[in-house]
Symmetry: C2
Amino acid sequence: MAPRKEVFRGKKVLVTGGLGFIGSNLAARLVKLGADVLLVDSLIPEYGGNLFNIHGIEKKVRVNISDVRDEHSMRYLIQGQDYLFNLAGQTSHIDSMQDPYTDLEINSKAQLFILESCRQYNPNVKIIFASTRQIYGKPEYLPVDERHPLRPVDVNGINKMAGEGYSILYNNVYGIRSCALRLTNTYGPRMRVKDARQTFLGIWIRLLVEKKPFEVWDGSQLRDFTYVEDAVDALLMVAKSDETEGQVFNLGGDSVISLKDLADLLIEVNGGGRRFIRSFPPQRKRIDIGDYYADFSRIRSLLGWEPRVSLCEGLLKTLVFYRKNLEHYR
Amino acid sequence: MAPRKEVFRGKKVLVTGGLGFIGSNLAARLVKLGADVLLVDSLIPEYGGNLFNIHGIEKKVRVNISDVRDEHSMRYLIQGQDYLFNLAGQTSHIDSMQDPYTDLEINSKAQLFILESCRQYNPNVKIIFASTRQIYGKPEYLPVDERHPLRPVDVNGINKMAGEGYSILYNNVYGIRSCALRLTNTYGPRMRVKDARQTFLGIWIRLLVEKKPFEVWDGSQLRDFTYVEDAVDALLMVAKSDETEGQVFNLGGDSVISLKDLADLLIEVNGGGRRFIRSFPPQRKRIDIGDYYADFSRIRSLLGWEPRVSLCEGLLKTLVFYRKNLEHYR
């Protein structure tokens, strides 16, 4: 096998959601690896796209502002690409309940259209779809492996399940090479901290950096967390392996922690701060999944992926980033 | 509990796909039970709707020709209904691959819209969603129970999975009482026999009645079959039970049979005819699921449902119907 660095050198790589949290971290890595990177993003204010996310690499990537729902734009842009990291999506559970059609259009219909376009205009592309643990719904057992039943508890989970389903289907039926990563709570520099639309951890970090107290809902829920650089590792690993086609893989974290303990760890790493516990808001309770953590042995066995950045180290790096750059994320 | 007959007497019942195969058989039963029946159907020529299907009850039901994608129509029609049997759908696996967007609009998006309309304008309705075994994909084990992983092998399966998912979600989150039946090969009078869009069995029966030979693809595949009156029993049983809310149930048949043996049984019941075996067309092979038969112990345990009409008897009744009425189905 060629050294990893060489795999992406000179390769044309399209990242949808490329100005978002994970997309921009992936872009920075791809630039280092010598790839020819095209970032597509809609910059919808409620989503994760932020031009500051590519600060420092803006001259080394191409940016195309368009929406994955824009069929003509996507049909053109996917042509000639070697890799498609399909990260664009509506991520807010609450928003998906309040406006289920938009969630469907972005997370389900647009994905189908992208796959159809690849089938017609670029059947040799390799596609990596960013799926989510949300499709499992409330866990029946822990840790959750990829065989766990899919019973989403919100519209977002159903539409992401469909989007993932199309991706695997186009692999199996048409040979459009696709695989999916079921991401869990990804965190790190460039995450959305303006509100809780990506993850509650974003708003915790913002408030902490602003020296304000933050709210922990309930706090007993167990979770695992993936540092964004580890997620980027996984994205690149599944992209370059031929054994991942048609497969889905969980990601996970180096440890399992309750939200209360996470809050305390965050305060400790920050060297101070305040949190208070409140009960779950009813609107959230209805779509809450209780405890969740992933069994990621499938990707570890096949590709050797595992989290390399500890939660403690990852939180510190994230805090350092936002202490310096918070003004660009408010 | 009130006698079953009384449950539906005077009740307002909306059946989408009401001029279709299962919808019209359900309508005839509901008329007998004294319900106030409204049938909605788009009469799209490639689908199952056929005005002849309500021959004999046309003065006892109301018919509204509209498409479930017609949001304004559906929003109005669902108001004031006690029961909604949500049977409208695109059913062809092949069509779903050739035109995946239409399948998505009907089987997924329109279902979401109907549920949203119920939430806003008729939250007390009870909804029965016609789901399909197609959402399981290629079985990992047999018989397939409701816990089997969902891995659809065609676009139709993914969109039906989403439609079912929304239905259960709206039950769990909003208390819009919903349940789903995962139908297997339903057959009987009023099925589409013009082509194989609903089931290959339709075209077998038509050719047999026309005294022409019919094709069996491969023939070794195992299947189970539900006679339509048994399916109607199940629809009514889940509708009137309070214990079905948020649940999904497989239906199945009284026996498991290979397609070759089914063809021979059909010829025997018909008192003559010819079939020949050919290999699977490549286009179909890619989305074929191999052997399938259902474990329907869940609905049997809870409600006592089981198939009452044997395959032999059901095939005979179907043949008798089409010998008399074929002209209306060509």
